[in-house]
Amino acid sequence: MVNVVEIQLVHIGRRSPVTHGIGVPAVGCRVKGLGLSILVLLLVFLGVGISTRAAPVSGGFESPLDFKQVERIDLLVGKRLGEITVKPNPAASPEVLLRRMYLQIIGRNPTVREFEDFMEMSPSGKSTFSGLTLVEKKRKLIDQLLQSREYGMHEFNFWSEMKNEPDNQNMKLFYFWAWFKKQLNDDLPFDQLVFKMLTETGNIFEGDGVAREFRQNGNFANWFADVMLYFHGAHITCAQCHDHPFDSYNQRQYYEMTAFLRNEGHPMDNLPETLPINKVDIGKIRKRVAGDKELDGRTGALINRFAFWFSKWAQPEKTQKAGVDRLPDYFQSEEAKGDPGQLVRAKVLYGKQPDLRFPEPEEGEDPGKEQKRKVPPEEWSGNDSRIAFAQWLTARDNPRFTLMLANRLWKKTVGIGLFEPANKIKEKTKPSDPELMQALIGLVHQKDFRLKEVYRVIYNTTLFERESSMESVSFSPGMGFPGPVSRRVSAEQMWDNLMVLRNEYVGEFDGEPRPDHPSRLHPYKAYYEKGYLNFDQEQLTEYVLKVGRESRKAGMSALEYENKHLGHGGTRGAVPSPFIQANRDSLNLNGIEYKFLRASELRVPARIDHFLAHFGQSSRKELFGSVREASSTQALIMINWAEKNLFHEKGGILQVVDQREGDEKIRTLFKGTLARLPSEKELLAMKGLVAKSGRVAYRDILWALVNCNEFRSQM
């Protein structure tokens, strides 16, 4: 294990002149056991299970709570508070704790029924928590929530910020995100999750193949910068053009890193011969179509759809990375040797160099040689540099990978990271509490990167039970944590809180997620499911001609015809965004409609005019793009829009209110929105409204409750 003092100093360093490729030997960065790690990860990659534990089953954890770890964290938090003579905050009320657990673990408020069950206030007198102490109730609820499907929904909102949606990709990532949510719920260890995303090459419609969609990007340099920043805390992109001005790595090192992932043969070169469709001569079909007067030019698009599809999506990628990149024409490093256009071989910034089997001689080609972008095969590594990179990045011994993860988990739970900004590690980066940081890293390792297990420990700490500190607390090097930090809820939490008021069963939606947006992959998936991979020359020609003719008769393009009449098009255009839909005067919403699903089940990112965008959902144009600032548009939406569109429904909170009597109606509204009972003063004021306006006052009270600041705060 790497100790904390070292972690502070483990940054991307220029290589030591003494050692071969180990970046931080000056402070003794340990890379012991890396070889073993690689072996382990390789086994994982090859599908050999290394876990001794079965996947958690729904309904509970198989192992008991790890009290030792819980106590350790509390001890360290207490120790720091003692050092800085700050008292811990008092224990939060059961109501505050309840709402916090729901918001934190599954991303929404408890419903009225859930509130009453936990607080043992149900009109029926029954509770699934009866006979338990508050601590036992808490433990039980944490386990239940961590195992609920909604856990994955909420975690998705958080982790999906790791992947920018490149422009013009037309929501291709839908299937990837569906897979990603499943992995979160199945608690696939985080290191394995990242490893799969970096290395999977399978058919995207089968098994884990869709993980390769993570590597879809509009621009490799941006994508690579994102990967290095998100998982590694390294802002390396500056070194693309020159030696990094503020950090200690040079331009050559940048290209040595990109060499792991950049070069790749064209997928067409590697198509398996066994599939009939790969033997089809597309050119012949093009000619045939061009010469057919019954067809219009738009039939060509159908051929492109096939050509694009069969070459890329529904077949395994057989390419491997060569481990070689080329210095750019504008190479200008002052620190490192190299000439513009020169080949460089993959090398990691620090740690043990991965095993890449390059041919002799060691150095790249003669710089004077004619420069071509394609790397000559004689320079290729004998094994796949992409795998080598993923092994290096996700290795247990890679201190930065776990450090970033542990800090992120802490920040997500407690509100402020142990170092800030939590998204970056610089030379100066020093955790506010190195011992606690070390303990968290140890925790992540001990739990084998299983996030649910890590959360389970943190949520069961005494720290998590305390009253929150105010959000204006900001990071300082010697800070302690008297309690979690209050904050405004995220865009997704705000939306989801409204969704459960509209329909308390919205979280229980199950089955195949249905996209509310067009995805470019729908037609390909339809082809795949219909077995078009087995089309031979004749069958494909016949299909194209048939669709071409029929579409012309129907007066639409071949693609439109396929989408509409052959069911290949997903739901393009069928469902406008909830915002637009909801601004129509007449709404006819029966039961759960998928546009009123939880935020995680909607298009990601939401359209810019959607509720979620207004409330600060990340636009996925850059990492960490979500914001929690107030805006007048948010206020307008809550004043004018929310009530009209969310409180008309049967099955919503107003229906529950209908079933209650007397003051209990008002209490029900407070339970469902703020997860607490009204104070005497509040009850009196609200009763006044009811006395004045009658039944309609319950809508007015609900309006005030969802507009109030407590509703948008996580305390």
Partner: protein
């Protein structure tokens, strides 16, 4: 058309509900007028056009015909100024070059969008502070010109909080955001089935809930939400609300700005400035042309040309250009070589930005990019985003040296510890 006036009574009752704030102060008035650097700054308002993605200088305002193939399909055209040529997508801006100042020697230290956008808007690199963008500085340092409208507005922001953020001045100084110019303010319509009486009851109930909560939880973000609610209620009450409605413009005018998102955005910006909104940012997205830049420029170049020239011409004709600074910024330029898919990659070394009005010398071209389009020819004439930022402040008369404390009590000034210097030579009143 959006009609708010019928609901004015309702809204009046709700104004000032945020804990003793008067309605007039709801838009974040500075506590006292700040010292102005220029005694008589000409620019009172700013229209900030942000070209998001990195506008190619080679294809727009600084073509390099001698570079041959690199130009691809872009031809050069003459502007009204001798020896100054543009890419052929920009004939109207070429024609009206005598009305604005072109900076050809912009140069920045980042090729990453996130950092570039941040620096361009906020004059600092991203770090541990939430640095205010230009709009928030203006909002914080200058008094309002129209109490009935927000002081600052951001149109078509691609994601919230780039230019509209209040930074560490918080949301009180944040811009009102408009995602779709043609729709005006989102969710601006009142509920038809709630009587004034009930509306008043709702606001009273809300006020009580918020007061109780704030008493126990006095934090910045809660304070922020209270301020914003006040701002919003004042806004809904505003008699000048029609400023947000571009459908009131003639077909001919709308045609001149172009039937594009950008055209509508700049038209709305003009209406808002006419109604004395201090700052309007309009974002045009999708300029990150790594691929097929020629196809993109054919579509997007004329769109930008038309909309921006219409704005400048209109403001010039009405005399408003004298008191309105109009700028075009972008996070960086593009490389001098053609990338794999007929595009251009990020080129931070040399690029172009524009300033017009508000005391800026018209018909001026400042600086030159290098002959290979990959840097700045004369390093002394190099203009950093920091310089440009401070130049805007200078034009508005803002004291860019004045320090403000953020939440951690750290000091920040508009000029980022002297990193930016104003280009005084481009002012008529230097």
């Amino acid at each position: 058309m959006i009609n708010y006036t019928s609901r004015r009574t309702f809204l009046k009752q709700g104004a000032g509900m945020g804990l003793g704030l008067s309605a007039a102060s709801a838009f974040g008035e500075p506590e006292s007028p700040e010292a102005l650097l220029l005694k008589h700054p000409k620019a009172k308002k700013l229209i900030y056009l942000f070209v998001d993605g990195g506008l190619s200088q080679i294809d727009s305002f600084d073509p390099k015909p001698k570079m041959g193939d690199v130009m691809m399909d872009t031809r050069v055209i003459n502007t009204k100024l001798d020896g100054v040529q543009y890419g052929h997508y920009f004939p109207q801006l070429a024609e009206h070059i005598d009305k604005y100042c072109l900076i050809r020697s912009m140069s920045t230290g980042t090729a990453s969008h996130g950092t570039g956008v941040y620096v361009t808007h906020r004059n600092y690199r991203p770090g541990t502070a939430n640095h205010p963008p230009i709009g928030a500085w203006i909002s914080r340092m200058l008094p309002t010109l129209n109490e009935n409208l927000p002081k600052t507005v951001a149109i078509h922001e691609r994601s919230q909080g780039l230019g509209s953020s209040g930074g560490f001045f918080w949301a009180k100084y944040a811009a009102t955001t408009i995602p779709v110019a043609a729709n005006g303010l989102p969710a601006g319509r009142q509920l038809a089935d709630v009587s004034d009486d009930r509306a008043s009851d709702r606001l009273k109930a809300l006020k009580m809930l918020n007061e109780e909560f704030y008493r126990a939880n006095q934090s910045n973000f809660i304070r922020d939400h209270i301020d914003v609610l006040d701002n919003t209620l004042s806004l809904l009450r505003s008699p000048d609300f029609s400023a947000f409605d571009i459908s009131l413009e003639s077909d001919k005018t709308r045609e001149r700005y172009g039937d594009s998102k950008l055209g509508r955005g700049l038209l709305l910006a003009r209406r808002l400035v006419e109604n004395d909104v201090r700052f309007v940012e309009v974002t045009t997205s999708g300029w990150d042309h790594h691929d097929n830049i020629m196809d993109e420029m054919k579509k997007m170049g004329p769109m930008l040309d038309r909309a921006l020239s219409a704005l400048i011409i209109d403001l010039n004709a009405s005399g408003l250009l004298d008191e309105t600074l109009v700028v075009l910024t972008t996070e960086f330029g593009r490389q001098n070589h053609v990338s794999g898919k007929a595009g251009r990659d990020h080129g931070p070394g040399g690029y172009c930005q524009i300033l017009a009005g508000g005391g800026i010398r018209p018909g001026m071209v400042y600086g030159k990019t290098a002959e290979d389009a990959q840097g700045v020819k004369d390093k002394k004439a190099k203009v950093s985003p920091e310089d440009f930022f401070v130049t805007m402040a200078y034009a508005m008369g803002l004291d860019y040296n004045r320090k403000y404390l953020n939440v951690d009590k750290r000091e920040f000034a508009m000029n980022n510890e002297g990193k930016g210097k104003p280009l005084t030579s481009i002012f008529t009143t230097a």
